[in-house]
Symmetry: C2
Subunit: 265 residues, 2 copies
């Protein structure tokens, strides 16, 4: 039954955003019990093809991912890119009501964070405990009232202490400038990109349906051999793609690639 429905969807018999017949009707149509219908729908839901809403019905999912310029160290900060480059692009794509919320905390590094900063995972008392303090800035970006992406950046406390990095405000002149004024010029970085399924918590906060993976990007930036920050960005993969440039790419790259979608056939 799942195969039959998948075919019907792919053939366009149920176009994107259209409601399917209700479970009872499907049960009649396919001459099976409602339990079987639900099992079939679950399969399609977990493939990300349909969404199910209690009290409403079952609809065909639509995929229109937006391309993210993931340009590296030279090329402005993420926040900058969001407000200057990304938000306009979103508006063009028909989205509106774009906002962000920022929270700042001071904490001791989790083992994962310590690793990213090049410290041994467990505090072995070789070095002052101060070295393991990080300022954590969590920036949630909302589009049309839904969480769009979540970015968590860790700065060493030794760099961020007593600076504007510790206040939960949008940094208008860009992180680059701030770090530059503090004497840290980032000259290289790496990104790791992967994907995983969301936890129930994440399903709730992102408002994604089952069957939608999360894209996860980790970035560690360096000034020489000093780690200046570690950023983890999480985005639902039905709405986000990352764009990386190689070689001498032209400035209009984003325009060129902005309507690319991995969901195309």
């Amino acid at each position: 039954m799942a195969n039959a429905l998948r075919g019907a969807i792919q053939r366009g018999e149920y176009p994107p955003n259209e409601w399917l017949p209700n479970e009872g009707r499907l049960a009649e149509e396919f001459q099976v019990s409602r339990g079987t219908v639900r099992a079939a729908l679950k399969i399609l839901e977990n493939e990300g093809r349909i969404g199910m809403r209690q009290g409403r019905g079952v609809y065909v999912r639509d995929f229109r991912p937006i391309v993210h310029l993931a340009a590296q160290v030279p090329g402005g900060t993420d926040a900058e890119r969001f407000t200057d480059g990304y938000a306009p692009q979103l508006r063009e794509a028909g989205y509106d009501r774009i906002s962000e919320s920022i929270e700042v905390q001071l904490e001791t590094m989790r083992p994962k964070v310590a690793k990213r900063f090049g410290l041994p995972a467990e505090a072995e008392h070789n070095g002052s405990p101060q070295d393991r303090l990080v300022v954590l800035r969590q920036c949630d970006r909302f589009v049309d009232g839904r969480l769009w992406e979540r970015q968590i950046t860790h700065y060493p406390y030794s760099i961020a202490a007593e600076t504007e990095l510790m206040s939960p405000e949008h940094i208008t002149d860009g992180i680059d400038q701030v770090l530059g004024r503090l004497g840290y010029t980032e000259d290289w970085s790496w990104d790791i990109v992967g994907a995983r399924m969301p936890s129930p918590r994440e399903v709730e906060s992102f408002g994604v349906g089952h069957g939608i993976p999360l894209l996860v990007q980790e970035r560690v930036a360096y000034a020489g051999d000093r780690v200046t920050r570690f950023t983890e960005t999480t985005m639902p993969a039905d709405r986000h793609q990352l764009l990386y440039a190689g070689g001498d790419a032209p400035a209009e790259l984003l325009l060129l690639a902005s309507d690319v979608s991995i969901f195309e056939r």
Copy 2:
């Protein structure tokens, strides 16, 4: 019940690769019917946390993704990276029996492919039909007998005709060299990275369980303003991550980042 089990797994009460109690026992333990047990297990399966094997049982999934150096135009070909850089890394990680199979076809561009080559999606007869011919090289890489990644590269027929690109052999000296000899020096490219759930077909060919997304990387490479190739790489996200360098990254980058995992806590 899914929450309880998820907690138990996270607390390490069921370590990775361990079998869970069977469905009957779980039903007793939680005082629910077997249907409910299965619903709970389905949830965890679709989150990628457990795998279910008929006739065997239910086990806790392990995530040890391998980091892929996705370095760009300067830095050798993908095939090169696979045999020279990647395969050794895999062997170190305990994998063995690495092989690849190559198939070559000549086809007319699908609309998606035409777009990547900068042609209008539909053939509007402005230009010879020859311009829409592509040589398609599908390279499947197998590790331990399972499909590990699938890479499909499209070359314009006008470039690839009568060259070794049309024979289904491993290109030992690298695509770069071949294209260079043909007078095409790739000087820039872009990558788009996204994720989606696999189709049932892909579930079968990759041998992934439900709940494991696929990482999809599209790359278009240019020699000047001429597109030399379009490559689409598909990889299960539980075993693959992509590494991108920014700025003046050191040569040992891969070593530095090779044990990073987005699944760490």
